[in-house]
Chain length 215, copies 2
């Protein structure tokens, strides 16, 4: 598939990742011309400096992976990451509020991060394995109303990653208004193509090199 | 065992927890006179109001569960949680820095949270399953130097919880200077007693009722 590399957010979010691992990640992202790297907030400054002058974006995660912190904390974390060079913010929704049907709270939480991101791209992680199909739809609508740019399936830290079913529901709901990122458990070329065919515009994966190499 | 209930931090950190679950947790903690409840930051205000007038403490988690965010974000989250009524802060260390041997960074990160906690009790989560015995010792020393009150084994979100070996190393290292909290995978009375015999002063568990009921 043409430009498959540009679908890839080359991702390393393991808490035990060290500087040498982040350095390797950024080098690989440049070599394969991936869309972005995705790293924890502690590593944004390093990744940003290593990727300066390249066209690889610096994506980080906020309220990650539980989404159960305060909106003010998510906003503060977003501002710090933007200050350190993050160009994309992948935030986790308040999953408990979604399960409770508090959609106003879910939307306001997202909107707070969108505002703090000051125009940087915001991807809204739904953690679809914890939501019903109806909740996936409502959460996607909340992301649209809050003026985020993307909905994203998964953190990769819960019991299941992206499913075709979840990606399809998200794509049907957001149409052309938002983009869709599939993440979690995407390990090979076949997985990647299926997700793209289901509507994914971006793939979060730590297997990007294997995916583009087996075309 | 006498006062076993007072070893228990009655814990609910699942991201999908809803208001009714937190209400039940607080009610149970009062009924069984547990030491504390342990909830995500979003729920601190509710738990604090529900437990007002009781002697059950309100514990929350910071930089949780990856520990890979910025120290300034951990400090901000701590201050917000204290403002909302948290009396105990369980923070996750910068695990990547520990793996890299950057012990000054690990210590400074903890000290920033201790300062932000303004005298509230700080427990330092090492995530022992990701550390070697030597790293567990060094991380415990960093927590001592940073003037935290506790070292704690685990988040409960990695591949393994508390082990007797980890608790023993922590207890040997901190002696009587700090206390030790064992957490993750403590499901029954036998587990609890073994951890206490190994040196644990507090137990983080979602099985507190089963533990005290089977004495």
């Amino acid at each position: 598939m043409k430009n498959l590399n540009k679908y890839i957010d080359h991702t390393l979010l393991k808490p035990q990742a060290q500087q040498k691992d982040i350095e390797a990640l950024c080098k690989e992202a440049k070599n394969h011309d991936f869309f972005a790297v995705c790293v924890n907030p502690h590593w944004v400054k390093l990744a940003s400096s290593l990727l300066e002058g390249s066209d690889v974006a610096v994506c980080t995660v906020v309220g990650f992976p539980l989404g159960a912190t305060l909106s003010t904390v998510k906003a503060f974390e977003t501002r710090m990451c933007v200050d350190n060079g993050a160009t994309e913010i992948d935030m986790v929704i308040n999953i408990g509020a979604a399960k409770n049907g508090d959609w106003d709270l879910v939307q306001d939480d997202i909107a707070t991060v969108v505002e703090a991101a000051s125009g940087r791209l915001v991807k809204v992680i739904l953690e679809t394995c914890l939501l019903s199909p109806e909740e996936i739809k409502k959460a996607s609508q909340a992301a649209m109303k809050a003026k985020a740019q993307y909905v994203k399936t998964s953190t990769g830290f819960s019991h299941e990653g992206a499913t075709l079913e979840a990606v399809k529901i998200m794509k049907e709901t957001v149409g052309d208004h938002l983009s869709v990122k599939a993440s979690g458990g995407i390990r090979n070329y076949e997985d990647a193509i299926k997700m793209i065919e289901a509507g994914a515009d971006r793939l979060g994966t730590s297997s990007g090199i294997a995916i583009v190499s087996s075309q």
